[in-house]
Symmetry: D2
Subunit: 330 residues, 4 copies
């Protein structure tokens, strides 16, 4: 494999690709010479270049990991696919739905694999919640409510939605069988011209509703997702070291009501249960899965289509944001 980009996330990508039995990273490119020095120190045998094209066109490379800013994804991935190489692309997949569609079409036509790095889908927590949903433990879903806030990582080329929401959009896309129909988003910018706070609602055909709170200006780090189901409810707190997932045997039942201030709905309150969550590094599992998909030719669940759905939600959220919450259909 070749890897393009060795900034914040690149070292994790290289380390996990390298640790797979049936993969080898043979070349890394980065415009920044200091980044290349860091590669060299950790992996003396890897070929280095400041020119991404040299990696893309290398004949000893079957697949490329593109770990660069989103604005460059399309050109790099297109060139790689045209050159017959499988691609593993950092999230978000592309800067627009049109770009995503073009890459998907190209990969289909050439019989190549696209995988988008939706790392969270490979965490023990998300896999456990997926299992709870698939096994109907939660029952029909009422809502999906996510909060992802902390201080910073302001970026000069993206707002907080493009930065943080891809995580949550990809997780929701993976967990829920239903797909959202429309999006409303609000937000504000305070410091550098990009929104640093945003609130996004996704509407579904049934009464299911999803909401995302993303914020670069919070003094505390919160990574909490609530899923409310008819039978059980889940709280996923990702900043907890242990007990990341709690399943509550709590709910409500409709009853006939009488009189003013009588409750229409009765509570059910039972045990709470924190299932053990696997600790294997997500990126390692994802790298392994990429190899599997490339070898077998099967389409990954985090392939181009999943990436495109996330990009479409990002676009819609940003359109709505500009219009202070106006509903944007997907």
């Amino acid at each position: 494999m070749g890897v393009i980009g060795y900034g914040y996330w690149g070292p994790n990508i290289v380390r996990n690709l390298q640790s797979q039995e049936n993969m080898r990273v043979v070349a890394v490119s980065d415009k920044n010479p200091n980044a290349l020095k860091r590669v060299s120190k950790a992996y003396p045998d890897i070929r280095l270049t400041q020119n991404a094209r040299e990696v893309i066109t290398a004949t000893d490379i079957d697949a490329l990991a593109i770990v660069t800013p989103v604005s460059t994804h399309y050109d790099l991935a297109r060139e790689a696919l045209v050159g017959g190489k499988h691609v593993f692309v950092e999230k978000p997949f592309t800067a627009s739905s049109a770009q995503a569609k073009d890459l998907i079409d190209l990969a289909t036509q050439k019989g190549l694999t696209i995988m988008v790095d939706h790392t969270f889908l490979f965490t023990g927590a998300v896999r456990k919640i997926k299992q709870l949903i698939d096994e109907k433990v939660l029952g029909d879903l009422y809502y999906y409510d996510s909060t992802r806030v902390n201080l910073g990582l302001f970026q000069h080329d993206a707002n907080v939605i493009w930065d943080l929401a891809p995580h949550d959009f990809s997780i929701m896309d993976y967990l829920l069988p239903e797909k959202p129909r429309a999006i409303s988003a609000t937000g504000a910018c305070h410091l550098n011209g990009h929104e640093d706070i945003a609130y996004i609602t996704a509407f579904f055909d049934n009464n299911l509703i999803a909401h995302f709170n993303v914020n670069w200006l919070s003094p505390v780090k919160v990574r909490t997702t609530l899923l409310g189901g008819m039978h059980k409810m889940v709280v996923w707190n990702d900043v907890e070291a242990d007990e990341k997932i709690k399943v509550y045997d709590k709910g409500v039942e409709i009853k006939s009501a009488e009189g003013v201030y009588q409750l229409l709905v009765s509570y059910r309150s039972g045990d709470m249960w924190a299932p053990k969550v696997e600790q294997t590094e997500a990126l390692s599992l994802e790298a392994k899965y990429f190899a599997e998909c490339v070898e077998s030719g099967k389409t990954p669940f985090n392939g181009g289509e999943a990436g495109a759905r996330v990009v479409r939600m990002l676009e819609a959220a940003n359109e709505s944001l500009k219009m202070k919450g106006a509903l944007i259909y997907l």
Copy 2:
């Protein structure tokens, strides 16, 4: 004083009015005979009736506490004001802005006091945050973000916005000198035809933004408000027994940026400080303040105007909710 309504909240009202030095509750009405039995057991000397009118027209009563469902507030308060009585009205003030305006006009004309029971404004936590804002400790405010979720108390005559948001709207109205210009709200209903989940954004003239997450379907109880300021940030966690308020010396500063992926904004991270919060029962302080306002004739900060602003926000949020987030100007 007379008290109309002795349901869930009425006993607290009577107990706190009764404990004031210069007040006495002489009559209580409630349509429910069991409620009256409870009054009788606790306060054998209080006059009881199932007919609210008997309390409203009683000649030995100077002021009335109206602790009934919101749909009845206007008629009861109007009759009381017409009869020359001061009123203490449960939140939300009225079922519509028009009703609120009419009552305010009537009270002004008759020189009578209206106080809306925005109890939270008298808690130690809210008073401490008010002090931090007034003393410019936080600096210019960036956002106000509130989450008030738990399992239930479904009501058959109101949705979750009318039930829970009056708390947060009244707190924000009290804390922030600026008033919101427009509102966008989204939500969903799952059980009894009323929305049980809602997300509300309030826009202000400057870049200040406020957001409210209210939910009757959460397995966990959350009562958290974040206030982000230029100098400091506050996390108010009302379910904590101690350390309800934490003031973070955290923030961001704009710097010139260079290169892709360079940070535009730098963090500042200092100490955290949890100021001592007064424990006196809020409703007792409010009852005392009501007596002061009635005696002195001064307009309470939680008077009809504050109540009307909250009602206007509730109306706007519900209008927007029906239109899936469409912006409603206030």
Copy 3:
């Protein structure tokens, strides 16, 4: 019933005795006239006196609740038993084992009921843990480790062991089928001549060990008990509003070891489970149980013998404390 003592805990006793169907409090005594005024305000029909003897000797009273400082328990209870009255005695039962034995003998001889107010045994949390132990969910027990610390309630007639440890000693006595053989205690006093910090170890015949950390000088309130069993382990956090009890499917297994620094023991780490805990007020259940025991003549599990075992542990802990941890056999 008659009640002697209406200080800090007396009002809870009277309220809960009074709320039982088959009980009535007819007289209360307290040396403090202000205490009697409070009784009168809440219960106008109860007979009042500053002289405990008037209650003890009243012919319309079948049973006495003794809610006074421990130094007075023996004389009051003895007089009551001699007079043919059942007694409900505040914890700790008596100031010495000898006193306890004398009262037990007297009650047996007269066929009267003694119940010691070990309120915690009637909480949902303790009853749930008892069930987990009785149903062998935890397996053989390794240890019982309790921490009960907070700021103050310094008393001028008792040290922190006599004040706080009766709770934990009575809970352990109830939960564990085994009884301790010896005690070692350490501690220190800083302010008023009584120990305000103490650490107590209880040894059992098998390898089971118990430890108690009691402290009046802690800035934070901690109420945590760990029970380690061969199969599962319990953490009971009594300051949590919900999820007071967590059952961990965690443990260790012995394996053969090889080489220096090889682990001899392997971990087992599975799910965590927080069973629902009943919320009924403990003192109400205890009052009901007292009535049952008096009517049926059965010996309560929190009777004189249980009270005496707790007193013996208190004595031993204090003896050891004076000798800086010297082992005292029970």
Copy 4:
């Protein structure tokens, strides 16, 4: 430098020594060939051997890090000192006080530096607490109470005291100007013949008392230390990511008492304050400090004497443990 032992902790030692500007690791020894392979992969230039003596006697080495089981410390360190090499020894310093004394004498005689790896002393948390004590913020100290429990890391050559207590003994030794006079310890063993639970009390000349709760059988990880002072109290929770240290403006004051059940002592309850804690890796600061001490010849505060005091406490705790809490003077 040379490093002997590349097991669990060795890689951290090598990485941090290596990252210092004025140090270089030239040789590593370990009996386990797999350990040497790991060194080779990470540091291709380092000389490797299974024979510790080759490192100790190497002429291009000025100082040795001894990162082996405690039973080997004395022989290795002695040989190193005899050979004129400075030593950095893993904690606990030695297996006995006699060994410690011998090494100290030898180092003094040869003018060589001994540093014991009491890593915690270089954490931001401990340095901040040291500052609070030195600047008299806490006032006279009442107690030091530490809990260090979690599931396992059972070792076949040491009990839980030798494994976990060196951390807390070295921290206390560093923080408190006073030194303990006597120790009482209790504990139990359940699985492999070594105590897996222990409770240790340390007595001081004044009323200061210290207590240590160490446990390998806890289902939850707790790392909490409380320091109670006359003016302020500290809670150090090392498992918190942020706000590890909380300083409470809480305390008690003695007042004259009147009447039974009157409080003798009144509370003071003010703000809480969580000072910012430095995040620099402790072992890196310690490595730097080792280089400084070697160069300047100054005696480190975590030198042989500090190591010997910790070993003496470990010995005393184990003696007392064998005698179920009997007091052992230091």
